[in-house]
Subunit: 333 residues, 2 copies
Amino acid sequence: MPQLRKDPITGRWVIIATERAARPTDFIREPVVPQSGRICPFCPGNEDRTPPELLAYRNGQHSSSNWSLRVIPNKFPALRVEGSLDSRGDGIYDRMNGVGAHEVFIESPDHYHTLAEAPETHLEQLFWAYRERVLDLRKDRRLVYVLLFKNHGEVAGATLDHTHSQLIALPVVPKRVQEEMDGALRHYEYRGRCIYCDILAQEVDDGSRVVLDTEHFLAFSPYAPRFPFETLVLPKRHASHFEATEDAGLVKNLAWVTRLLLRKFDKLLERPAYNLVLHSAPVQDGPLAHYHWHLEITPKLTRIAGFETGTGFYINPTSPEQAAHYMREAGMP
Amino acid sequence: MPQLRKDPITGRWVIIATERAARPTDFIREPVVPQSGRICPFCPGNEDRTPPELLAYRNGQHSSSNWSLRVIPNKFPALRVEGSLDSRGDGIYDRMNGVGAHEVFIESPDHYHTLAEAPETHLEQLFWAYRERVLDLRKDRRLVYVLLFKNHGEVAGATLDHTHSQLIALPVVPKRVQEEMDGALRHYEYRGRCIYCDILAQEVDDGSRVVLDTEHFLAFSPYAPRFPFETLVLPKRHASHFEATEDAGLVKNLAWVTRLLLRKFDKLLERPAYNLVLHSAPVQDGPLAHYHWHLEITPKLTRIAGFETGTGFYINPTSPEQAAHYMREAGMP
């Protein structure tokens, strides 16, 4: 019998279509392998082909090409830092100028390394760079939210092969994050506890959806996932803001967990395209007792049909218990 | 300068990235053309390859193959009619059995006709068939919502070429519909008017986003569209439930408007894949003063990147004013 399951935070229902049960080998796959091609603007030596860098990590001598990570403004930004918000009505509608920032993190100098293949230290420095950029951008009081995300592979929305992630800083809070915050606040007002902390406790107890249980993080398949192999990485100690992280051990652990998850995907699902999104509290807010930052990693295995975007209703052919089972069995690739 | 615009009903913000402005010819396109192939289970003569039909429209002699439209249960249903809901908790989670219906409308006997190419009478009978199935399914008091939708083309989620649409009847209300209902109710409580009626008035006044203004329907590009060329079809007279429609003139007008929109897409965007979704009030509710049924038609022109599904935040490279302008200029193909 198929099941309907409700996401306890946002209230979204999904169908877990167990009778269409899909195993890892059932999905149509287009393995993501970085191609050589025309001159890559993200490769060392081509620094002049990108806008001037905002941040770079270099070791030893400071030649312009001797970097291990670079952050640059997006050449075709969706938002611009200049100008005023000029928020106003338009009859019953609301609008404002597209003030914000749009940046690119070049995660490795190596054109052929995916993030899963790069050394663990690259993921570590990437999370430190995320943090550093958020801390800088939040000084601009107009920017209330900073989105950090990675599109890996063309079907996941990447337009360049060279491994990179992106940042979009916004003068508004995105809808899904606001929904999470609202749902989490309702739970907090009713029970006096963080709903993510409650989920953490139940998932550790239950165990059937757990992928990795480490010192600082739990990686698991959520109870009502929209997509097959959707995976959540939740810090074990409550914290609303990712950028408040100061513990080097925690960042090291996060890098280890993220890299291992990506390598498990590569093994199980043959180098799938994927999306990674970091959900954190609005940057101008102080610490929140009801919200809990986390990573969402979603391999891109199915087409999103119109009825899903048109209704917010999802049919998932792989139960989270099955997905977690396959992920655990993939070992330590 | 890019603009941030807010959807007045759901509160979702979108970026209208005018500096990346995209014209119809800028999109990557894969024209959708029905292919012949192995035996098509939806073609006349192959009726025994589908589950027994739930509804069919036939003219004249009642040979099993002499139909103009058929409705059948989905052979691989995401939900099942049998069994009880058995709604229950699972720690802090909620679930129930996947009780519901999943049906397929074969819109034409002609394998090579897309809905845009079929005679107008086919669209008319399709909308009557939608209505007839909803009226039948709502007798089952467990089913609170009936989704009607069409995925056209592989990238929009269609798995068979022969023109068809689908129905999913659910024991819960889908999230996006619930959000629309909540947003519309807030407006109604505050202003005492239906927000869709207010939008209708402002759009007709303004004119810049109007595509078609007919006796019974307004077709327009919404103020804060998520996707390029997203188009809304709104009945001019307030009605919360599509299935309450009895006026043959209105159905005829709806068929004419829908067909013309699809033909304009075909001309402008070279036979794009698209999704069509009908949003109507929950079927067990009586008439609602605050909700207003409508059609959403969205050509599939861009990839949805992870950050969009991960955040509910959309970047749209074509402003609705530009899209409506191109649609009007496409004439009457």
